[in-house]
């Protein structure tokens, strides 16, 4: 950009030969071309669809869906609209993706660090895990968990049970649900207060350590606040909760929380698959930290745990974070394998059933692509922010 200005000051060039002008013209031409391209595609498609008698437009979103959805995080009845099936599906996508992201991160870090264990067995488990699950197609893993493992569980009437409170059968996992009574709000508030207090405490402790070098037992303080405050509130309010136990009524278990096997299978498969890739990234990240760093830390008298937490992990994160970003994005996209086992996420419900009942393929596929695009943008933005924090700060 500086170059043309230099030239311009020494010698007058023709308008078209000025690279800056040229760039603008080319860009404008490209924009016009692209605009024409999309305009033609869209108007052609619409004209073709009309000529063939295919309905188009977004009015269908207000029509009655008329079919049931296996699982919904918001109230849903077959009398609700197609628009609502979109929301129901989207929330189920968010659910399985979030579970997958959190669990695969945990699994990935545990397995990645296990590579460096001094214990032969643990090291081997980590290697075998990564090599096995990274190399089996994900769809096969989804089928494996669903059709081979979870379908083999006993029927509802012969459920496996744990203390008559937790039940596992071919229809899912049934857990007791804590139901709040009047006063339970105080307990929730206590949890919120605890979290806020922890955040403040952490900042204070960090500042103090930077100034004085004194360390603060953060882990114990965090745990104490997180458990203690709600517990005190719970006791003070006279234990304002009761358990809602699942029980076999008629054909199915009623009450409590139900985790359907489709969700379990998909979440398991996504977690284990992405976890294997994350473990690889963690291993690479840790190995990327020069050995001299560890030795230097050791000669300063740091403990092994401190070396890991303060020296190795912060540097390894620079290698790991970009990989996490792309793994999380793949995980969200891979969650569309839901359709193979009927987990009612956006892809199964909206692109599957809704599309089939309304026939409005273009609109539905467009809306769905937009959702996955936005989700992945959000992940990308969040991970880039995180990356900035862990990136090397050059002074």
């Amino acid at each position: 950009m500086n170059v043309p200005q230099n030239q311009a000051s020494t010698k007058k060039v023709a308008f078209f030969n000025n690279p800056a002008n040229r760039a603008v013209i080319y860009q404008a031409l490209l924009m016009v071309g692209l605009g024409y391209f999309f305009y033609t595609i869209i108007s052609n498609t619409l004209a073709n669809m009309e000529a063939r008698g295919i309905k188009s437009g977004f009015d269908f979103l207000w029509g009655t869906a008329g079919f049931d959805i296996l699982m919904s995080l918001i109230p849903y009845e077959p009398t609700d609209t197609y628009g609502r099936t979109f929301i129901v599906g989207m929330l189920n996508t968010v659910l399985v993706s979030s579970i997958g992201i959190v669990l695969s991160t945990v699994v990935g870090f545990v397995m990645g660090v296990a590579y460096f264990s001094h214990n032969w067995l643990i090291r081997k488990i980590a290697t075998v895990y990564v090599e096995t699950f990274r190399n089996i197609p994900l769809l096969l893993q989804v089928f494996f968990w669903y059709f081979a493992v979870l379908s083999a569980l006993p029927s509802a009437r012969q459920s496996l049970s744990l203390g008559e409170a937790i039940f596992l059968n071919v229809r899912g996992l049934y857990l007791p649900d804590a139901v709040g009574e009047p006063g339970s709000g105080v307990v929730y508030a206590a949890i919120a207060v605890a979290i806020a207090a922890i955040a403040l405490l952490r900042r204070w402790a960090k500042r103090r350590q930077a100034l004085t070098g004194k360390q603060f037992p953060l882990l114990y303080a965090t745990l104490g606040l997180l458990l203690g405050l709600p517990l005190i509130a719970f006791l003070l309010m006279g234990m304002p909760f009761h358990w809602d136990y699942p029980a076999l009524k008629g054909f199915n278990f009623q009450g409590g929380i139900t985790i359907i096997p489709e969700l379990m299978a998909l979440a398991l498969a996504l977690t284990i698959y992405a976890g294997a890739f994350i473990a690889e990234a963690v291993r690479a990240g840790v190995q990327s930290v020069p050995h001299g760093q560890t030795e230097a830390a050791r000669s300063l008298g740091m403990k092994e745990k401190q070396i890991m937490n303060l020296i190795v992990v912060p540097q390894a994160m620079r290698v790991i974070t970009p990989v996490l970003n792309s793994e999380y994005q793949s995980l969200v996209k891979n969650s569309t394998l839901s359709t193979a086992i009927g987990y009612p996420d956006l892809f199964t419900v909206f692109v599957g059933t809704t599309l089939n009942q309304t026939g409005q393929a273009i609109e539905i596929v467009f809306m769905t692509m937009a959702v996955y695009f936005v989700f992945n943008m959000l992940i990308s933005v969040a991970m880039n922010l995180f990356n900035k924090r862990v990136a090397l700060v050059t002074k």
Partner: protein
Amino acid sequence: MKTKWTWAAAAVAATSMMANAQAGTLEGVKSKGKLSCGVSTGLAGFSQKDEKGGWSGLDVDVCRAVAAAVLGDANKVTYKPLTAKERFTALQSGEIDMLSRNTTWTHTRDTSLGLNFAGTIYYDGAGFMVKKELGVKSATELDGANACIQAGTSTELAIADYFRENKMKYKAVTFDTSDQTRSGFESGRCDFLVSDQSQLYALRIGLKNPAASVVLPEVISKEPLGPVVRQGDDAWFNVVKWSVNAMIEGEYQGVTSANADGMRANGKPGQKRLLGSEGDLGNKLGLSDKWAYNIIKQVGNYSESFERNVGQGSPLKISRGLNAQWSDGGILYSPAMR
């Protein structure tokens, strides 16, 4: 830089050339010498593949009939197995020439998908299959139960209506293919399987222990199944429609694959007209005189196809019921063949 511009120019040129291509399917099939027909991924009696890779079934016979009428050879068919969800897109996009995959003729499908139903080859209705051990005798006892359903079917809507009508609740567990639906039912993921009655019988014989399951008496919806073509191609629509009618009329007129030759030579006027030795019905469809003769000779009339695939000559042993000729107490009726 140069190549980039070339690409861009090519893309723009290609875009403006995207014409409204509404090809004549009949000419297309004739010039390809093959009919591309969408069928199910495997459903006993309707469209299933044997060990040698050959397809058979009532739906397959409709494909064969059209191929016989258009190409003179019932074997000139390429079968394209499709799940319930894939079928309409495959037809709309032109991947197949016709769809013959136990597809219910509904108002919405007929009017908003850019498709036309070319007749009914099997009058069906949705019903339920349950395991005997549940002790359920009627669908009205199914309150709170789980249903195994194939995704993208009219069944998904029929069952919602039925449960609403009867103020009962259910949970829909959906699957992509009939194999998966069946294994969901077998594993106990759901209490009952809901589908068109004919398909329940077909799925039942595929169970590990068919005797342990029963089909309940209730029929909860109208499911007239028939072949589908693209809207706006009337010549092709007529060919498929009248190929189906030829099978039905063949039975009505008493023409079978065994006696077609004799009747073509010296049958009654109606038989001769159908078989092309009199009149020019084939010509009006853009086909040869022998169009219906080829159908009946190579595929058989409706009754032959029915009995062979789903009736007494098959493991399904479905009786004609509604699917008998109107003259035998059913509702099968071909418009006048003249």
